[in-house]
Amino acid sequence: MRSSTRPKLWQLYGPRPSDRKTSFSEQGRLQCDVKLATFATRQRGKSFAQSADERNTSATVQAALEAAVQRHTFPKANVDVYCLILESGGADAAIAITAASLAIADAGIEMYDLVSACSVSRVGGQLLLDPTSDESHHEDAAVLMAMMPSVNLVTQLVMTGEWSNSSSKEALELCMGGCAQIDSVVRQCLQQAAVSS
């Protein structure tokens, strides 16, 4: 998935049988792994092992998608989703979540709804939707929201920094609007892919 200047690559494996050592579960397991390519950021990153930030992002993406995937349709099995961020340009986690949802839908795994996500940064009192990495470096506070727009459920919310009542409401509404916009684009994309294949 390419979002203007922030290309990401998602690959999905599964459903496939889980390891023998994992206990029986009526629900399938969803595993997400996010990694930054070594050339993705200004400074060269590590090529092996995930950093703490990458593990954090992976956990956020996984939590955002768990509510949307119908895990009871693949009991005892694993769906493994791998993301490689080719260029980090800001709002990486939000784009990763949206792209993962697209990949899972494209793979034909049943979901309750598509998940779209976006972030808002507060820079000097102003709220910026879908910040670039330069903008987020100057932020005082941030929100990341992932939601299923058709069923109107929020699957992941992460807020950092100090927020007053009014500014938090404004930021959340901005995020919900952003998610709705992203959702319509994602749906068009899936329909086109289905028509052309």
Binding site: H137, E139, T155, T160, G161, N165
Partner: protein, 252 residues
């Protein structure tokens, strides 16, 4: 862990605002708090929230970079944005020589017994431990050669207490059926599908929010959860602060 009938019984209780131990949905379990039992630590607190038992120790040591390490859930609540403005703890209080030497605070938490709501218990105990923490004053003697490291002498006499007025606590608000509740026991946690972990400071401002659990939350209910946390958080902090204040007066 819980039978189906127990889950149904517990969920129905929540709708009627009555829980297994007689509390309503907005009450916390009784808290037993002790500070300062660990002599080797700069500050410590032992907290029991019902049967959940946690011990938090804060240790200071000389370090080369400005920063503090907390567990992930507490970390987000303490840190501000990337610029460093705002945030729960004033990190400039840890500075020895600006731009060169500072104290590194380590917060080590030990969970002694888990009976639900461990994250909230840890955050309250951490706040208590930080209030118990004193940073010794450091005398910096410049070496004769300006390129050498200056000599540092740690004086135990003029220790300065940390200012915790802006430190938030974590309050987890969980959804059980249609009801919203705080401070769930381990048994009650089986009935909940989604929870919002909200960090609130003494002024009722949101310091960090993160969603837990594997189900979605309706945006209207999410706003209600945040308002509930913003209302209950300052009340809990006020009770905690008055206890810590009377305790520090008694010790002086």
């Amino acid at each position: 862990m819980c039978s189906h009938e127990e889950l149904v019984y517990t969920r129905e209780g929540f709708q009627l605002d009555v829980r297994g131990d007689g509390r309503n949905t907005e009450e916390l379990r009784s808290i037993v708090l002790e500070t300062g039992q660990l002599v080797q630590a700069s500050g410590s607190a032992r907290l029991k929230l019902g049967a959940t038992d946690v011990l938090v120790a804060v240790k200071g040591r000389g370090g080369d970079e400005l920063g503090a390490e907390f567990a992930k859930g507490l970390e987000r609540s303490m840190y501000a944005g990337l610029t460093g403005r705002g945030g729960g703890l004033d990190l400039t209080a840890l500075c020895v020589t600006s731009g060169k030497i500072c104290w590194l605070l380590y917060v080590d938490a030990l969970v002694l017994n888990m009976d639900g709501n461990v994250s909230d218990a840890l955050s309250i105990a951490t706040r208590a431990a930080l209030s118990d923490t004193s940073i010794p004053s450091v005398e910096v003697q410049a070496a004769e050669d300006p390129n050498d490291e200056p000599e540092l002498e740690v004086l135990d006499d003029n220790a300065v207490k940390l200012d915790i007025t802006k430190v938030p606590i974590l309050l987890s608000v969980s959804q059980v059926g249609q009801a919203l509740a705080v401070d769930l026991t381990a048994e009650e946690e089986c009935c909940t599908s989604a929870a919002l972990q909200v960090a609130v400071n003494s002024k009722g401002q949101l310091c960090a929010v993160s969603q837990r659990g594997s189900a979605g939350i309706n945006p209207g209910i999410m706003q209600e959860m945040m308002s509930k946390a913003q209302r209950l958080g300052p009340e809990i902090i006020a009770v905690l602060d008055s206890f810590l204040h009377t305790r520090s007066m008694a010790l002086d």
